[in-house]
């Protein structure tokens, strides 16, 4: 009798392995709908990246020290001294960025495929929570290297919390753990990033996955008129879909390593609360909100600005309940598709404006200074007045 058989009989004597085996088999070989295509991989990619972030995060935790005095130096140590430390730091940093991208693509796919509609509204809502969680991961993790960019981006980021009506100043004080970004802030962000969020996030992901499994993937059939297709048309999760995802996973890992080697995240100067570097901007995924907030000034403007920034998130939460049309196929629901495209392009445009604001850009052979609000001002070279015109 082999060792495997021995273990099997040991377990058999103790609980009903048949049920457990049946459950695992059923889940593993569950047939996905026939229209499951290459666009459906972003969900699993997000999950894979979350796992990768967890593993690399735990590895980084071994050497990282979350105090203002030691944080930057420990990152330097990880990068310069620890074997493969540079690799895990880079993969963690790039993994975070790619994870946000993967989650966004996954949401975009779900939106245009109409997959959020009944009966999958709750899957969508947990998905939106996961999206917010991912962004919070990014925001809290960005501070941890305690370099100049991180310190000041966090200062600016928490500053905008002040604009929230009524509780703004309290909220800011709470987020920072004081009046300014200090070691207290670092501790808070650290705890949120490595303890609170990971567990919350894991719970959300589990619920999201269970809901997804219970309802299976959506097809393009109209809501309430889905006909269960014969099983032989469906795609078994294992081994067929897994093989497909394997292709993407292999390529993703190669891309991660390539980005880590060729476009490394710099360690930067250690944080200095007494000198602000020029052109502080948040990470790319905050740029649309960052830019949008700029257009609202004054006490009422600030409230409207915060409202305008949170509106897309409210819309995301409520969307499955607002859009109650029966159609799923994008061709048959032009309004929702148009609205989605508009939102997406708007976010892209605002993000781009945020990216180029307060820089010099060349369009069609002419140089422009893009001001705070994203308005281009042509730079005239010949006269000394060009500078004053530019500002």
């Amino acid at each position: 009798m082999g060792l495997g058989r021995q273990i099997e009989s040991f377990l058999d004597d103790r609980f009903d392995t048949e049920t457990a085996r049946g459950f695992v088999d059923k889940q593993a070989h569950k047939r996905l709908p026939p229209n499951t295509g290459w666009f459906h991989v972003f969900g699993s990619l997000s999950l894979l990246l979350f796992v990768s972030q967890t593993i690399t995060g735990i590895l980084l935790l071994i050497y990282y020290r979350p105090t203002p005095e030691a944080a930057h130096e420990s990152i330097q140590y990880i990068t310069a001294e620890v074997y493969f430390g540079w690799l895990y730091r880079q993969i963690h940093a790039w993994g975070g960025t790619l994870m946000i991208l993967a989650v966004v693509f996954h949401m975009v796919r779900t939106y245009f495929w109409g997959a959020y509609k009944k009966p999958r509204e709750l899957t969508w809502v947990t998905g939106v929570l996961i999206f917010i969680g991912t962004i919070t991961f990014g925001f809290t993790g960005y501070l941890l290297p305690w370099n100049q960019l991180a310190f000041w981006a966090t200062t600016v980021g928490t500053e905008s919390a002040n604009k929230v009506p009524l509780i703004g100043s309290w909220l800011q004080y709470f987020l920072r753990g004081g009046d300014a970004v200090t070691g207290e802030t670092l501790s808070r962000f650290f705890v949120v990033h490595v303890i609170i969020l990971p567990w919350l996030f894991t719970g959300l992901v589990v619920v999201h996955l269970i809901l997804m499994r219970l309802n299976n993937l959506a097809t393009f059939e109209r809501v309430g008129e889905e006909k269960p297709s014969p099983p032989e048309y469906g795609i078994p999760f294992f081994p067929v879909h897994v093989a497909k995802e394997g292709v993407v996973v292999v390529l993703l890992l190669a891309v991660l390593v390539t980005l880590s080697v060729l476009v490394p995240w710099e360690i930067g100067e250690p944080a200095d609360p007494l000198s602000t570097p020029a052109h502080i901007k948040p990470e790319w995924y905050f740029l649309p909100s960052y830019q949008l907030l700029k257009y609202f000034e004054g006490p009422y403007g600030a409230i409207i600005g915060i409202f305008a920034c949170s509106l897309p998130f409210f819309l995301l939460f409520l969307w499955p309940f607002l859009d109650r049309g029966k159609e799923r196929h994008p061709k048959r629901r032009p309004l929702a598709v148009g609205f989605g495209l508009l939102g997406l392009l708007g976010a892209l445009f605002l993000g781009y404006l945020g990216h180029i604001s307060e820089t010099e850009q060349t369009f069609f052979g002419k140089r422009y200074y893009i001001d705070l609000l994203g308005r281009p001002n042509e730079i005239v070279d010949d006269a000394g007045t060009s500078e004053s015109k530019a500002h």
């Binding site: 590895l59 071994i62 620890v82 074997y83 493969f84 430390g85 690799l87 895990y88 890992l253």
Partner: protein, 145 residues
Amino acid sequence: MMDISEPSTRRGFLDWLIAACSSVAGAALVIPGLVYLWPAAKGGAAENVEVEGASDMSPGQARTIQIAGKAVIVVRKRSEYRAFLAACTHLGCLVTWDSSRNEFLCPCHAAVFDENGEVVSGPPPSPLPRYQIKEVGGKVYVSAA
């Protein structure tokens, strides 16, 4: 199930290739992770570490210093210095110097070493490892043997 009409050798090769690639990829993911865990800290050089204020030590006095993270006990015998690893070879407690008896004492299990680090009594299985001493221009340097 549809019938498969493929030459089994091609299928066999593909499966073999995938298995090989998976093993390589798995190794490539796991091995760097294990290497990463291996301590990179050098903890400073274990060579020619200066004994601060050695010249102020009076004969018969001892001082415990850190060399590469390890406790090293330096004893002055008249004009000569000696250095030993301070960790008792029994269970690693730090020994102290008894100048009146010219012996090292271990506080944990009453082990006694003589001034050469040899075991006099008690449970230690081996003498205290000795460190090299170098005196240059009035300064005393200790190096791991």
